[in-house]
Chain length 275, copies 2
DNA sequence: GTGGAGATGATTGAATTTGATTGAATATAA
DNA sequence: TTATATTCAATCAAATTCAATCATCTCCAC
């Protein structure tokens, strides 16, 4: 049997409860109580505590696994998705940068990948609001400037009105932006108003705005747009349908498709990725 | 076996505790006490010490393995030099903070140690120019704001004129400062002009300025001072000579000495004073 | 030997956790 | 719909665990 005489610590119990939940997506309070040899009152308290920490979903009579309702996947997860495509996009964007440029790096995993490639260039001035990018560039010889602002945990970026004053003081040659969604009508959009605000301020201070967005972003619209009169100079993506491409080029937006043959080295991508 | 007559050294015990933890992710205080043949009081002391060094997680009734909550490797936490003096200073400074305070955290290892202790407080607004502190506070529930500025690699802080505009927009209740040196004539001093500049701007925007400086800093003067009309409200240190102390107190600067047994008293004192 | 610093174990009151109980809220059946 | 059976959250007392204090002990320098 499971109930081995000795008392269980809270941490231990939570571990067991998560295991029970993992085995069958739903468990009842009484089942947990019996399995762990503890009163139902304690089980309910544990479940509530775990629910408050977002570990599980509470349902009448028991608990259920937390379904991924998060509108924005965690940073680490995003980095796994589309890594090959994002790498190609970042590589294509890299060729737009020259020595001695002043560039801005936005948040997002694609831009972060670009940040990792900057060692090959010399004497850049890099402005960023992404702590991940900053962490990546800490040891680099380039000049690194962070915008201030309120820290947004989910994207690990500095956003909001407090980022505005510092952005007013600088001008960058090229701003490399990430986004949650992009449409030809609304431009970039994201899930957080503060983040959209900062993106807008950045783009106002950039001579050239370059968007790095894989195909999953194109045609999608998220919660907040970056304002009605959006502006974009270059879109770097991995695939785009001809209609959208034409629309963009009519607006004088250069489209760079970093496809498989564009980098030539990365061949034989999984066929299912072409979905 | 376990209880081999001779007494165990602290280091030896910690090794055994880590082994127990490694075997089963959770162990009780009583289990450790029994396994190592020592009183539960000593076990608790060991566990606390190890917890403070980040070796394990303390839970009611025992200890649990430290789960790596953040998927990202933190900035670079290599210089994890644990110093008892700095720990005491930070603990004494902690008792100056209350729930809902707005505080500033400067760079430096002592202030960083304070940042690690902020979990015990609620609903803080934390402004900082230290990327180490920011990394430490990334997962905390507090509101976190970073000043912008140029990244200075050696101190991992954001400094220089670009940090000024954002600082003009905020006011903090208490600013916890670090320093390279401090004298009663020149105040704080550091090695970098940009860093001194930012320190000065911060102190202008703080209702109360609190300096955390161990005794090695007192009486030392570094390259750049933070300006002729420096201002300080509280100095927290681990030891100070009477003459300096008197000079400071004549200037209405409160001196807190976090001696060996002062930590407990300081905490207990505030706990009651908070009533 | 003397004295001080540090470590240990016992003790104490405070804080936390637990299980039982209660009435209210919710789900199920008729 | 109403009636019945579960489940829930709040409360309380008992048990456990905690942190702080104190007396003792060891070790080391003087």
């Amino acid at each position: 049997m499971s109930g081995n005489g000795h008392k269980l610590l809270t941490a231990e119990r939570e571990q067991r409860i998560m295991q029970l939940l993992h085995d069958s997506d739903v468990v009842t309070v009484s089942a947990i109580s019996e399995a762990l040899g503890m009163s139902e009152a304690t089980v309910r308290r544990d479940l509530q505590a775990m629910h408050e920490r977002g570990l599980l979903e509470r349902v009448h009579g028991g608990a259920a696994v937390k379904q991924e309702s998060s509108p924005e996947p965690l940073f680490s997860d995003k980095e796994e998705q589309f890594s090959t495509e994002k790498q190609r996009i970042a590589a294509a964007a890299l060729s737009l940068i020259h020595d001695h440029d002043t560039i801005f790096l936005d948040g997002g995993s694609t831009v972060l990948m670009l940040a990792r490639m900057l060692d090959s260039l010399k004497a850049l001035t890099i402005v960023t609001n992404s702590l991940m990018a900053a962490a990546q560039l800490m040891e680099s010889p380039h000049r690194l400037i962070l915008t201030g602002g309120e820290f947004r945990a989910i994207s690990r970026t500095l956003v909001g009105p407090l980022s505005s004053p510092i952005l007013k003081n600088i001008v960058v040659d090229k701003a490399f932006m990430g986004t949650m969604g992009f449409t030809t009508t609304d431009g970039m959009s994201t899930t957080d108003a503060n983040e959209a605000y900062t993106k807008t301020r950045v783009m106002e201070r950039a001579r050239q705005v370059i968007l790095l967005a894989d195909r999953s972003k194109l045609g999608c619209s998220s919660f907040v747009t970056c304002g009605p009169d959006w502006h974009l100079d270059v879109l770097v993506t991995d695939a785009i349908d001809p209609k959208t491409r034409q629309e963009l080029e009519e607006r004088d937006i250069r489209v760079i498709v970093a496809g498989k043959n564009a980098t030539a080295k990365a061949n034989a991508g999984t066929a299912r990725a072409d979905q």
